[in-house]
């Protein structure tokens, strides 16, 4: 357990240290600023609609994916590229524990940035309307989406140095483009896992967000389960790669 926690701690420092947290934090603050200014002098129902039309897509389609792709890929990937993976692996710690610790750190880092961004945006809306009902669904939805991206890109980051590129292409072409072409394509989308949790906890947002949801049924429970499955698969895959792949 000591080793596990030590890996989580050091990895968190590695991922969020220096200017990275400041830059990601600044990016994450933009949705809050936008929604605050855009909802000035509006009635409550319009405020919620603006929130669902502008802040939620920005959070789920830009802030969370970019943050999680960068941090998820870096968690194991940076160790490999910096040559410190040998330092980590020549230890009496099961490979699955190393993989789990790395995923925990990556997910935690991504969740911290995403949730802070979402909290600010939701707070902006809540202050306008004196209705804090968007806060918890936003945080839960973003956390689940961040966790899903972190899980997938933890593995990809270990496999290839181009993981962020692959992630950005996936985001740009698939998540924000092709996956909107048909409702059934929404099933193959990471951000929508989090979005279903959000809509499941805030049903009144479904009218505005029906298009991105496609054929998916909203529900936080299902989303959480998908996250757990993705996480377990990511840990198993990363552990297998640590066991079998050469560390040059």
């Amino acid at each position: 357990m000591t080793g596990f926690l030590a890996i989580v701690r050091v990895t968190l420092r590695q991922l969020l240290g220096g200017k990275r947290l400041i830059v990601l934090g600044l990016l994450g603050a933009i949705p809050a600023v936008v929604v605050w200014l855009a909802t000035a002098n509006r009635v409550s129902s319009d405020v919620l609609e603006t929130y669902n039309e502008s802040a939620i897509p920005t959070l789920f389609l830009i802030v969370v994916p970019i943050t999680s792709i960068v941090l998820g890929s870096a968690s194991l990937g940076d160790e490999r590229r910096d040559g410190t993976l040998s330092f980590l692996v020549v230890r009496p710690i099961p490979r699955s524990a190393i993989a789990a610790a790395k995923l925990a750190a990556a997910a935690l880092a991504a969740v911290i940035v995403s949730v802070l961004s979402g909290a600010l945006a939701s707070a902006a809306v809540s202050i306008r309307t004196s209705d804090w009902s968007t806060l918890v669904p936003t945080l839960v939805g973003l956390a689940i989406a961040a966790g899903c991206y972190a899980a997938v890109f933890l593995v990809l980051g270990h496999l290839t140095s181009r993981a962020v590129l692959i992630g950005l292409v996936y985001l740009f072409l698939w998540e924000t483009g092709i996956s909107f072409a048909a409702p059934s394509l929404a099933n193959i989308s990471l951000f929508r896992i989090g979005l279903t949790a959000y809509v499941g906890m805030l049903p009144e947002s479904q009218a505005v967000l029906s298009e991105p949801l496609g054929s998916l049924t909203p529900g936080a429970g299902g989303a959480a389960l998908k996250l757990l499955i993705l996480g377990a698969l990511a840990i198993a895959t990363a552990a297998a790669l640590l066991r079998t792949r050469d560390i040059t």
């Binding site: 936008v34 855009a38 960068v70 962020v164 740009f172």
Partner: protein, 288 residues
């Protein structure tokens, strides 16, 4: 008393021409091209540029082939036009610039090879311009060659005849070339700015794309009456200028909704390019 002797090992100084600053610039430019295109590198370094170019050119080839096969020549000419084509390969260019800019700038700083450049007859502006120049050639080619292919394809299948089409529509070529330069300037300035301050290529690419995509959030602000935020719609400025130059109307761009004139968008891009150039040059002066 200790004695010493120096032996002549036959070392010969270089008597040939010294290429000087222009030679160094050319070498830097060629190195940049190789990095961006993955030339003289492993095959997987070529996959991205080759794939993106293929995706960019494919629609032009497809619609030309379609016109030839179906025989609906004039319909083909209407099906896919130059102004909409920029919306497709503009997105490709964005991803390409995100990766290429960081590949061009970050490794030199992180691997400690800036000292090598500093010890050559290259000034810091030479270095920055050389890197920008390599990227410019590739991105311009990436953006404009599909238009050339589309233009020639439409001339080929159009009912007015090849020569007539070319003569009547030659202006399209220089206009699309200018628009390609505008897209390049808009994207590369920010990409270089981010890459100049980042330590990792992946993070720089992510932050750059994040900034560009988040600029789309200014739409909500503009619609709420804060027109000045229309100036921050980086993603939309090139498209707005494109419509102005080509005399078309392919979308409701954020600057347009903010009441900003297209020439103002162009001014924003030019200002951004100059400012980025100055900041990056200053940064590299300190780094070298």
């Amino acid at each position: 008393m200790a004695e010493g002797v120096v032996f002549d090992l036959g070392y010969q100084p270089h008597d040939g021409p010294r290429l000087g600053r222009s030679g160094a610039r050319r070498a830097l430019f060629k190195d940049g091209l190789r990095r961006v295109l993955g030339l003289r590198r492993k095959a997987r370094k070529k996959i991205l540029p080759a794939s993106l170019m293929a995706i960019a050119v494919m629609p032009a080839l497809f619609f030309t082939a379609f016109g030839v096969i179906v025989g609906e020549f004039d319909a083909t000419v209407e099906l896919f036009d130059h102004e909409n084509y920029f919306n497709l390969n503009g997105s490709m260019a964005l991803i390409f610039v995100a990766l290429a800019a960081s590949e061009l700038l970050i490794p030199d700083r992180m691997n400690g090879t800036m000292a090598v450049y500093a010890s050559r007859p290259l000034t810091t502006p030479d270095y920055v311009m050389g890197r920008a120049g390599s990227l410019a050639i590739v991105v311009f080619g990436f953006l404009w060659i599909p238009h050339l292919v589309l233009f020639l394809g439409r001339a080929w299948v159009g009912s007015s005849g090849f020569g007539t089409y070319v003569i009547d529509n030659a202006a399209i070529l220089w206009k699309t070339a200018v628009v390609s330069v505008v897209y390049f300037a808009a994207y590369t300035s920010i990409a270089f700015l981010v890459a100049a301050f980042s330590k990792r290529t992946a993070v720089a690419a992510g932050v750059f794309l994040g900034i560009v995509m988040l600029s789309g959030a200014t739409a909500a602000l503009v619609d709420a009456g804060f027109s000045v935020f229309g100036l921050g719609a980086i993603l939309d400025h090139p498209g707005y200028v494109k419509d102005w130059i080509l005399g078309t109307n392919t979308g409701t761009w954020i600057p347009e909704r903010a009441g900003i004139e297209p020439v103002m968008s162009l001014l924003v891009i030019i200002t951004l390019t100059i400012a980025a150039g100055l900041v990056v040059t200053g940064r590299y002066r300190r780094a070298a």
